[in-house]
Amino acid sequence: MSQVTATVPIQGLGRELVQNLFVALRSAQLYDARNDTLRAAADRLVRTLEELLLVDRSARLEVGGDLILVNDVRIRSELRSYSVHSNLMRFFRELGIGGFEWEAAPDVGQAARFVSVVGRLELEDGSEDPVFRLRQRLFEEGLGGTLVLEPREEEAEPLLDDPDKRHRAERTYRHTVAVTRQLMDSQRAGHTLRLTRVRRAVQSIVDQVFDDESLLVGLTNLRDYDEPTFTHSVNVCIFAVSLGQRIGLSRLELYELGMAGLLHDLGKVDIPREVLLKSEALTDAEWEAMQRHPAFGVWRIMAGRQRGRVPAREMLAAFEHHLNVDLSGYPSIRYPRKLSLYSRIVAICDSFDAGTTPRVYKTDPITPAEMLQAIDRWKDVRYDPILIKAFVSLLGIYPPGCVVLLDTQEIAVIMAVDPEPRNINRPRAKIVVDKDGLHIDGSIVSLAERRGTGEFARTVIKVLEPERYRIDPARYFLAG
């Protein structure tokens, strides 16, 4: 029995709170408390607080280290909110406060006065406790209902150490692969397209990505060497949903994107298995057959759709995922077209996963880092350059599953990208071989960690070929 994880909308409300508080503070620096612009910003802030208090009976916004937390839920910074997040964190740090807690939603006038006090608070050197000072100011203004929180101790985000989460992610992954396999098998057997289970699986993926995408992204290192299409489809779905989340797609949009990702290669059902699994280079005829899979995919989705529904996203992604942004690629088209955003996302995710998967089209797999480089080289021609940036920011310079040599002579498997964008090349890694060359079950470390001297404790020297050292990166992403 499965549970549909009811993702608490604290993420959404939290983002709103961060955004609205920031805008109100900025407005307060420009206008006085009676100004209409400021009052409108205050009104939005009040509404968010009311909703948050209604849904979660608490409204607390805290800044700790590089994180913003609302009601103890880490609010993920999306592309579109990145500058707001970083500016708000800096503002709080400069004020020397940890955040605010609202016991009840203020009225608009109170909220406008609150942001005026906070936004115009002069930074003072000195011995006075900034939290105490602000509390006093708010009390004087009759705004004692808003509590000023002490700065949180620097707190690193847990390093993938939540076994429950890992188990859930692994379960979702395995289940989705099974569902995909069943879907494709039933298509091969000529049965009608049934997508109920696929939809549920994609919904689970969306929920998990909302919760923590790094676990699922790590699991994309798992491969089915006998029939890579299943894991590949699921991996593309995971990458696409994760990338979609980065660029701010809504939950329902992510679901559509996930469906598009999962079904993008449905047309491979029509390609002979011996061609799909061939270990040598494809002949011209085989390659020609292979190039038909996008069209076959569309025909299958079209034939399997329910009356009254046009699965547009799925059809477009199936058709366009091998078309490059300059419209080269395949299938060859007669009329120019603008590739859909979802197709452009799926194209990047597809290339990345296909390139790093062993035995696909019989080219040697390359490391995720090399694949990322290769994709980067083709920007503007094959891929959307901005989406590539977003993809790199999702996976980091060293994507999860990369096996790297560290300057400490240790070998590590990259587990997750660091949440702080400036640490794009300093991910979290699990030490798997110590400096003496012994395989160990080492801990997960952050490569952004510094020694007392200020130098980084560990730095990636080189990306290694895992097979050479008999390292199977995938196993480190399993729950155990």
């Binding site: 592309l79 500058s83 798992l222 025909w299 794009i424």
Partner: protein, 555 residues
């Protein structure tokens, strides 16, 4: 959260279910906004909130006909549309948990879906579980059956290293890898900072997202299908054809005419390519027919006339589907005269009519008066001389409205032939047609029609209106000119009846006729009449004189 936490007392669960059932029943009976429904829902939301605040959460196990809490049956109802248990069970749900904090919106959203599921079998691909997921509940969790739960994929074991074997391995870095330790770190991507998304990137991305949301997905899909049809790799193209027809029907139903036209434009190259399958051709014929059916054209006309539809969009639609099918347009489009107040529509209809000479003639001869009237109107609008003879023939139509419109159309033409046809209208059975004809003949002073007018004038017609009488006289004067002045003068002076009285109305009409002759001889008579004792005669004489440019006024 595990499915079996915190056993709930059966009493609380029973109360909760009773509330749910009550609201569920009310929803099945009353539509949104019904006062009774609103009242019961609001009471239920309050009661549920109180129950959950006290209990924390309530877990219900779902069986085919029962709901259970803590192992006790709290609800039982045999399968049917009223059975909450059965609906949930049928849709694959096996447990549902209500948490403290459940909002009225959440309750409403849940019951919306339940009501829908009770009223119709939900689509297999978009079942209750999928629909509930979209609601994104916070205080309501549910568990469902996964048919494949025991068949999850297992990563191939042979690819995974044996743990003890792995531990025994001693890693010797290759020479190449070892040497890397002595060099600066490999730079993988030239400058990682290039991969930070800056404000500009984010703005572009945002623009891309907005653009994506603004795209017409159906259109994109259709252009994709066009590519597939032009290079077919499957024998059975029916899925594509069915989908195109469905999209066409949806756009047409939603009255998004520009999109309906777009579908035709998208597939025109395919249909013209010679590769189009017969099934596709048939489908497009059906689509074209449906675009011109009466209901569609009436709706289009109404929206256009009410200002709710852009004339360019409407004209594109009419042009796209009406070309070569003029008669269908004329049959269906209501109130063509008002429709043709829009220049774009005139252009479209004129274009269609201009390229379908035979269709226009057939329409003119149609037994459907709306079609014939519309055809006559269009001919008049375009004044296409190719249709002059046909118009002349239409004057013999049985339908007065058709004849009237034909006469109006003829007025758009110059030349003797057209006037000859118009003159036939003098003898039409319909008074309004006769009036139109007379006015036109007067304004053109078409002398050859004099005989007809005279003949008509001489007839004694009891039902002739004063207006017609006046017009007949005016035409008589205008067409006869100086030649009929004497006759008119004698008519003016004629006395009739026992008391040898003059008919003042006829005298007034004769004065108008004298004025229409524009003859100096007539003027004298009119001037005299301006001092007539009968006020009507005197007033008309004055008006006629004014028409001559005379400033003299008579009392």
């Amino acid at each position: 959260m595990s499915p079996s936490q915190s056993p709930t007392t059966a009493v609380t669960a029973t109360e909760l279910v009773q509330e749910l059932v009550r609201v569920f029943k009310v929803r099945r009976l009353y539509g949104t906004g019904h006062p009774q429904r609103v009242e019961i829902e609001s009471v239920a939301a309050r009661r549920l909130a109180a129950l959950l605040a006290e209990e924390g959460s309530v877990e219900l196990e779902i069986q085919e006909t029962m709901l259970l809490a803590g192992g006790e049956v709290v609800y039982e109802q045999p399968p049917g549309p009223e059975s909450l248990a059965h609906i949930l069970f049928r849709e694959g749900l096996r447990q549902i948990v209500f948490h403290d904090g459940l909002t009225a919106d959440e309750l409403g959203g849940f019951l919306d879906e339940m009501t829908l599921a009770s009223q119709q079998r939900l689509e297999e691909d978009f079942d209750l579980v999928a629909r509930l997921w979209e609601k994104r509940f916070v205080h309501l969790h549910y568990f469902f059956v996964e048919a494949l739960s025991d068949e999850d994929w297992v990563p191939p074991a042979e690819e995974r290293l044996n743990e003890s074997e792995r531990r025994e391995l001693h890693v010797q870095l290759s020479e190449e890898d070892r040497s890397a330790l002595e060099r600066p770190p490999t730079v993988l991507l030239a400058d990682p900072t290039l991969y930070f998304l800056d404000e500009e990137d984010m703005a572009e991305l945002q623009g891309g997202l907005d653009d994506e949301k603004g795209r017409a997905l159906f259109t994109e899909v259709l252009t994709c299908v066009r590519e597939l049809l032009l290079d077919p790799i499957v024998d059975d193209i029916s899925p594509a054809v069915e989908m195109i027809e469905e999209i066409h029907a949806e756009y047409l139903g939603d009255q998004i005419y520009r999109r309906v036209v777009e579908i035709q434009e998208i597939f025109a190259p395919y249909l013209e390519s010679g590769r189009a399958a017969q099934s596709a051709r048939d489908a497009f014929t059906r689509m074209r027919d449906s675009a011109l059916d009466e209901t569609t054209l009436i709706r289009l006309g109404k929206r256009l006339l009410s200002g709710d539809l852009d004339e360019v969009e409407a004209s594109r639609f009419v042009l796209a589907f009406g070309s070569g099918r003029l008669r269908a347009v004329l049959r269906g489009l209501p109130d063509i005269k008002r429709v043709c107040q829009f220049p774009a529509m005139v252009q479209a209809l004129g274009g269609i009519a201009g390229s379908d000479e035979a269709g226009l003639r057939q329409a003119l001869a149609s037994e459907d008066p709306q079609e014939a009237v519309a055809a006559a109107f269009l001919i008049g609008l375009t004044a296409d001389s190719r249709h002059l003879e046909a118009l002349g023939e239409t004057l013999s139509s049985d339908n007065a409205e058709v004849r009237r419109e034909t006469l109006l159309a003829l007025k758009g033409f110059g030349g003797g032939r057209a006037l000859e046809f118009v003159s036939r209208g003098v003898n039409d059975g319909d008074p309004s047609v006769r009036l139109y004809a007379l006015r036109h003949l007067v304004s053109h002073r078409y002398a050859p029609a004099l005989a007809r007018v005279t003949d008509r004038l001489e007839r004694r017609e009891a039902d002739r209106s004063l207006t017609e009488q006046r017009l007949l006289y005016e035409a008589y004067g205008a067409l006869g000119g100086a030649d009929v002045v004497d006759d008119l003068v004698s008519r003016f002076r004629r006395r009739r009846g026992l008391f040898r009285k003059r008919d003042p109305e006829e005298a007034a009409c004769v004065l108008i006729a004298l004025g229409a002759t524009a003859s100096p001889a007539a003027r004298q008579v009119v001037e005299e009449a301006s001092g007539d004792r009968h006020p009507l005669v005197a007033r008309v004489a004055g008006q006629v004189l004014q028409g001559w440019g005379t400033v003299e006024a008579t009392a």
